[in-house]
């Protein structure tokens, strides 16, 4: 059981879209009372960064196999299907926290 969830938010460029996603994820986690630490990266950095985190959120489709759970949060940016994605994120985080 961990005290806080380590989350990696990855986007293509690590510049604009990952920031939008990060901000939305912060609000989601705060509302769900999930303590978390969020770092950002580019998609190409995921394989090297996956060992330091518990959960990976990508802003676009990512197909390479990984060791950690991955959720596509594209809907948070486009506004489509947001409720479903929020639920997925919160459920996965709670699982990691051992609740």
């Amino acid at each position: 059981m961990s005290k806080e969830v380590n989350i990696l938010v990855a986007c293509g460029s690590g510049v604009a879209t990952s920031t939008v996603a990060q901000e939305k994820v912060k609000v989601i986690l705060k509302d769900a009372h999930v303590p978390a630490k969020i770092t950002k990266s580019t998609l190409s950095e995921i394989p090297s960064k996956q060992n330091d985190v518990d959960l990976i959120l990508t802003t676009s489709k990512y197909n390479k196999p990984l060791n950690k759970p991955v959720i596509s949060v594209f809907g948070l940016i486009s506004g489509i299907n947001q409720e479903n994605i929020k639920k997925q994120i919160v459920d996965e985080c709670n699982k990691i926290l051992g609740k």
């Binding site: 293509g12 510049v15 990952s18 920031t19 990508t58 802003t59 676009s60 197909n63």
Partner: protein, 414 residues
Amino acid sequence: MVIIQKILDLGPVVMLPIMIFLLGLFFRMKIGAALKAGLLVGIGFQGLNLVVNLLMSSISPATEYYKAMGKGFTTVDIGFAAIGGASWGVPFAAIAVLIIVAINIILLRLKVTNVMNIDIWNFIHFLIPGALAYALFGNILLGLGVTVVFGVLTLYAAQKVAPRWQEYFGLEGTTCSTFSFITLTYPASLLINKIIDFIPGLNKVDISMDKIANKLGFFGDPAVVGLFVGIFLGILTKQPWAVCLTMAIGIAAVLNLLPRMVSVMMEGLSSVGNSVQEYMKRKMGNETKLNIGMDIALSLGDPAVITVTVLCIPIVILFAFIIPNMTYFPVGLLGAVCYVIPMCAMASDGNVLRTFISSVINLFFVVLLSNYFAPEATEMMKVTGVKVSGMITDGHFGFNIGNIIIGFLSKVLR
């Protein structure tokens, strides 16, 4: 009136937060949230200034060397983050956003378009040509007009590419509204593919370039690229070892830190963007079939795109040495290469060889034109409040058709 003039004179570092704050309030943000948004945008802008200065000073041993020689890499490629951030510093930025959003809503209501463009950061694709027109022709209304025209044109182009974008990248309910790439790179790549269709042999073939891409994998990390570029430029310009290393760390720092400054600006802009989205939804009522305009960065997960991007980085560096009269070394462009590729991949239907050919041809012209329009680019910076020393340029002057048109008009008319 004197007070307003005095505030205007303080420049974008002060004006930008105020304008974003007012913009936020207009789109019904709470005062605290609007204040925070404005502050973050201003802080990011300030940070951008700092890092651009670092780039100037890190690369100066090389540019001084070439200036003394009278030819070579005397221009600095500051990159899209700097140029884009700077474009938010023109006096008409906030008004342009308001007008473009208003027109978008009207066009949506009239069902002339089905695209809702909420990608606020990429308004830089309209603001940059607008700033360029303002700087070159001295007319602020012209600048505003240019910005608005491209802001509206992108809706048309985004609607055209929507079906293909959704089909190829699987990003339902969205389209790409990143102006430069949908209006120039995509049609150009379609044309290149048509030409390849006519070449016997080539038209049937695709090859897997994964193995080569894996060997070149380290080109994917900007800091590492910066390190090599710095040392390379240092050796090329005969600097002492100490200077080479300083240049290397400096450029690596810039390539790592510049996107982070944009990130800070984005924290502010994205909360305004959310309010714009909510506002547009309210004005639209319950609309069914909408395509949300998105940043091209969302397509960067595509395997063909990743492979070809890695291959193109060393090729862009090669261009610096084979294009005649090249005045800059493509430091900033290396960070933007990845954005040119997705439209090439989409036009080539994922065929890696065709994507590669199309990307190389597109990038060749990007490098050529941003070199040609370096003087115009440098003039543009003057109206944005970001100080640079000497000549600069950026990829936007090679891939943004707005800049290309205005640049040519300027060269002919002035």
